[in-house]
Amino acid sequence: MLYMEMQEIIQVKGLTKSFKNLTAVNDLSFSVREGDVYGFLGQNGAGKSTTIRMLLTLIEPTAGSIDLFGLSLNSYRTEILRQVGAVIEKPDVYKYLSAIDNLQLFARLSGLKPTHLQLMQQLEMVGLASRAKDIVKTFSQGMKQRLGIAVALIHNPKLIILDEPTNGLDPQGIADIRNLIRHLSKDLNKTILVSSHLLNEIEQIATRVLIIDKGKKLVEGSAAELFDPAQTLIELETLDNESAFNKLVQSNWKQALQPRRASTILIKLHRDHIPNLHRDLVALDIPVLSLQPRHSLEDFFLQVTSGQYANTH
């Protein structure tokens, strides 16, 4: 191994990329620690894909430095890329080859000679074992996406970069990817950088988050650090939500209630007041099925990108 066990798997400093009339990434600095599931967020055109492509040496930075595994990407490109697997936007493989042939081809490119069994296991992991010998041309977009992920993981990389990995997937597929990411992170100690527009998906899996806009960093930090405790949302589920809602409207909690939703009741309050809520729910004789604090990443994201976050922090 050419790298030492470093806390920081990715360290980016002052990264800038200027095209002819546009600065896509502007003095961006961030770091990804070992074991992180690092959510990379931003609106369309914010510079996420450009940043990811620079991490993979597909684009040359105009300025700045990138270190992966503690090594300079410029100087140790080959060694570093052996440890990286990536799915970039819509992953494309060779349409005229079968799934297993594609997987084998990319495995060989990564320096491996996997057995047929190993290839099938990889396909099994992404739910494509039954289509192993089928030509990719016949695959749906979701299947191609899953094959792309299998390709990214075939060489057992330490760092996995996923750019919009759930594109084109159905809800089951999205859930599968989510579970896969959790498994890779928790069980296999992989470090994962994932960019996505599906904020609720990121919210469920990310340990740390970076939000960029117009190529600049807006915020970076752990989910817990970023979200305002005073703005904690509680999601309440009861046996009779209609009745519970009516009772709460007539109580002190009226102001804290959020607009009615079909299956749950949302209450915005300071984190420290959660025990009070517990007590009052019991006093109001509301049969509680579940009470969950919810970080609304979507709300947070909109807040940040509209500049409201900067005003209050």
């Binding site: 492509r53 993979l56 040496t57 597909l58 684009i59 040359e60 490109r77 080959t78 060694e79 570093i80 890329l81 052996r82 990286v84 990536a86 970039i88 819509k90 992953p91 494309d92 493989v93 060779y94 349409k95 005229y96 080859l97 042939d101 081809l105 990319f106 060989r108 490119l109 990564s110 320096g111 792309g148 390709v151």
Partner: protein, 291 residues
Amino acid sequence: MRTLINIELYKIFKRPRTYIAFAAITALIVMIQFGLKVDGKTYVDFMLNDLGSTLQIEGNILNGYLVCYVMLQLLLVHVPLLIALIAADMISGEANMGTLRVLLSKPYSRTQFMLAKFIASTIYTLLLLVWLAFLALFVSMWVFGTDDMFLMKSSYVVLLKENDVFWRYIGAFGFAALAMTTVAALGFFLSVFAENSIGPIVATMSVIIFFTILSTMNIPIFNLVKPYLFTTHMIGWKEFFDIQVTDANEAIVGSIQYPERIINSSIVLLIHIILFVAAAIVVFKKKDVLS
């Protein structure tokens, strides 16, 4: 590096499009062989019309060696398109398919990647020529038999002894390989600039047609650039079929009239190949992969 080359060859030969070229050559050659077999005498009589008034020419004129020569003259104008189909697709095709970004995030340098791709497209070119040689020469020899080679150029006639022909074809095909590799190098270079294959393929053919016109038109101003155009030198294979004569006008078996032309053309083609490939690598190394 060998892994990369093997993978590139695997991709080329797994792709159905590759076999279009082999099929096209087969169809063309079989068609010409059929036509000459059925009606070759008319063709030969027509060519011999003028000469036949002074000389009595006997023997198997339309033999496999002559048939092969005729086919090479026709095909070596068209084979470049078939070469371009693959070579001009090498980079742009990957960009179009979206696989370029996956390939370039693998632990190989861009130079290695480009060299492997070029070597693979050269191997494809050579295999295409081997197939061409097999059909045009060996099958013609089988169908039409062999004899001396009676070659009618526009202002003189060359008669090559039967045992003095085969080695010339080895040389000619070797030279043709160099010429076609130059076409591959051009297509490869143009492939770097596009994200779909049609553009580079059309561009390659356009360059070849344009330069061929410059090479063949006898206009003084064009003569200044002719020596530097690779198309001028691509037809150098014909020099293998011209022979020296003694002062007594006796052909010297085993000789070539202008061997220096062959050497010169080979060098020019080789320089073109090196320049095209080097330029492709230089451009590609700096290229931002946005596909």
